[in-house]
Symmetry: C2
Subunit: 116 residues, 2 copies
DNA sequence: CCGAATCCTGTTTGATACTG
DNA sequence: CAGTATCAAACAGGATTCGG
């Protein structure tokens, strides 16, 4: 076993942070998860809700989230074809994180963003 | 007052998410904050602790965090000159967020990162 | 309607060397 | 020690077009 790292150390925290970063990083992943927290959605619905994301980026980021088991993609073979995206349990497990994230975003907005 | 947005709506959440993103985005900001949560540190200490950040990136990101009132920079005019960085109250207000971030990072690591 | 494919651009990031 | 300067590489993001 190579160099065990204790839970309390800064190094441990840095690693955990990097892991979380790996999945949630970028301009669009958290917005997408927020959007899907609201309920399962189709491609176009997510796009409209987020507002200014190009189909390319949305497609690309959805794929990445799917690979990381954060969301699932379900194809309904209707006419025309519809696709629905929804959070997996792992995806839903971000809810506490998201909540704090949003709380802090609001706090920060009030402290700083408003004053410039 | 232009188009009030209720707290519970997806749109409100998307905006708060974007605000938080604006400050915490990028590969290095959260690691830097984690490092400083551990205590005030000097430039070189942060760099060694994070491990593979170039001085240019560190300098640049520290500057951005300072502009957003997340950290402060204190110059001690000793010989040789030393500089210490520390979290502001606003910076320390990320602690709950960080905690959830790290908790989830660990969870994710166990679920996914370990299995690939 | 839901994307895939292509092309193109600007920003981010990094390696390295150097300065007060 | 605490950064800056410079140059190159990588990547994020956008515009557009096309297919099932």
């Amino acid at each position: 076993m190579a160099k065990a790292i204790k839970k309390e150390t800064c190094q441990y925290r840095l690693i955990a942070g990097k892991d979380a970063m790996e999945v949630l990083q970028g301009k669009w992943r958290i917005p997408i998860i927020i959007s899907l927290t609201d309920g399962d959605k189709r491609f176009g619905e997510i796009q409209r809700e987020i507002g200014n994301i190009s189909p390319k980026m949305l497609s690309q980021e959805l794929k990445a989230l799917e690979e990381n088991k954060i969301i699932t993609r379900t194809l309904y073979d209707s006419m025309p074809v519809t696709v629905e995206y929804s959070l997996t349990p792992l995806g839903r497990s971000t809810d506490k994180l998201l909540e704090e994230f949003l709380k802090w975003g609001t706090h920060f907005r009030n402290e700083i963003v408003g004053n410039r």
